[in-house]
Amino acid sequence: MKAFLFIFSLFLMAFYNTMLSDTISIYGVSIDLPVALVTLTAFSFNEFGTTWFAILLAIVASTQRLDFMPWEIGSLAGIAIAVNMISVRMNLDSTASKLVLMGCSVLAHNILITAVFSFENFYFVLLRYILPGVAYSLILGWVFIVIGKGLLGLGRMRM
């Protein structure tokens, strides 16, 4: 189950990058799928599995932009470890708290990537793309959390 979900997520990432991102982006605002997947994994799986999943997902996510790869690996692995630690130590189980954590992760990831590559027009990018992207990602995250809890029972297990 765990391996299947991980592999499925990696393929989903590739599918998103190849075909889905252009289709579902709204006026340039797109979902931060890697962070959404990593945080969702971090809520349900242990630190070791989450970290390695984040590394693999970062590699797959940055395959089309190889110069992003180190930053993706660093940021996603960092987010995975941080979210996992916070959710375990604070014993987060409510959907709202998970969404807050996910929103913060998406925000941090986007700010980091934006800061690394260009700080030009940062506030414009923040308001025009990053914050709407956080909201958009949270919608997806909420759907995933609901599906995960309802169908897969991921909220109750910690593997």
């Binding site: 599918f15 190849t18 590394i55």
Partner: protein
């Protein structure tokens, strides 16, 4: 083995951090060698199926667009071809009509059919010219093959034709070669028939039937039909002859109204 497992579990977080850091540094420092290699493996494993899928979808989309474009082009070309064929037919008809001589003292007014009146087959038509163009009732209407009918009613800018196929329209005729006279009338059951021909009249299949000019409506000499079959009526004084109309009433288009001639 037990001690190594214990060490791993005790230092799991440290190992995790360490390995993550090692990967991050290796990808960052030796980027030109490691990143393309990792990228190729990732592409091969995860991206290539979607690349192929996207390629196929793009191909299908292109085929669909191409199909739509070609259909549009085909429709346009079909319309152009139809117009050209119509022009070609018109050209041929006009060339054929150059050889058509109206009876002396008659002028031809070219007219176009606006609508056809049908009762299982065409029996009347409305043309695009009327009394303002000099058209009057009972004027003969012809096409390049011969007599088509006569003007029945006129309006200022249109007129109604009573075709020869109308059973109420009788034409005084004669056989072109023998000058024997009779009457042509269209019967819904039998088609165009020649009546009032003497039983001993010399007539055979293929003979041309022309207007006699005796009825006071049609000028003499207009082709009406050709003899299709002759029925020998034993014991009767008159012969009935089936005719094949000179004009194709299912395909009439350009017509001419004969005016003048003392009318």
């Amino acid at each position: 083995m037990a001690w190594s497992s214990t060490i791993f579990h005790r230092n799991r977080r440290f190992l995790n951090f360490g390995l993550t850091l090692a990967i991050f540094l290796s990808v960052t420092i030796s980027g030109d060698q490691v990143r393309p290699l990792i990228g190729n493996v990732s592409t091969l494993l995860f991206y290539s199926p979607f690349y192929r899928l996207k390629e196929k979808i793009e191909g299908l989309r292109n085929v669909s667009e191409e199909n739509f474009r070609l259909k549009k082009q085909l429709t346009e070309i079909s319309l152009q071809l139809g117009a050209l064929q119509e022009a070609k037919r018109e050209n041929r008809r006009l060339r054929e009509f150059i050889g058509f001589k109206p009876p002396s003292d008659f002028q031809m007014i070219p007219v176009k059919i606006v609508s056809i009146l049908e009762h299982f087959y065409p029996i009347g038509a409305v043309i695009n010219k009327g009394s303002n163009d000099g058209i009057r009732p009972n004027q003969a209407v012809v096409n390049r093959y011969g007599l088509v009918g006569k003007i029945k009613e006129t309006m200022s800018h249109s007129a109604a034709i009573q075709l020869l196929t109308d059973p109420g329209n009788a034409v005084a005729i004669r056989v072109a070669d023998t000058h024997q006279m009779g009457t042509v009338r269209y019967s819904p059951e039998k088609g165009m028939m020649l009546y009032n021909l003497p039983a001993d009249a010399q007539i055979k299949k293929g003979d041309l039937i022309v207007t006699s000019g005796m009825g006071g409506i049609y000028p003499a000499g207009l082709a009406v039909a050709r003899v299709d079959s002759v029925f020998p009526n034993q014991g009767e004084i008159l012969k009935s002859v089936q005719l094949k109309p000179a004009a194709d009433f299912f395909g009439i288009d350009e017509l001419y109204v004969l005016t003048g001639g003392g009318q």
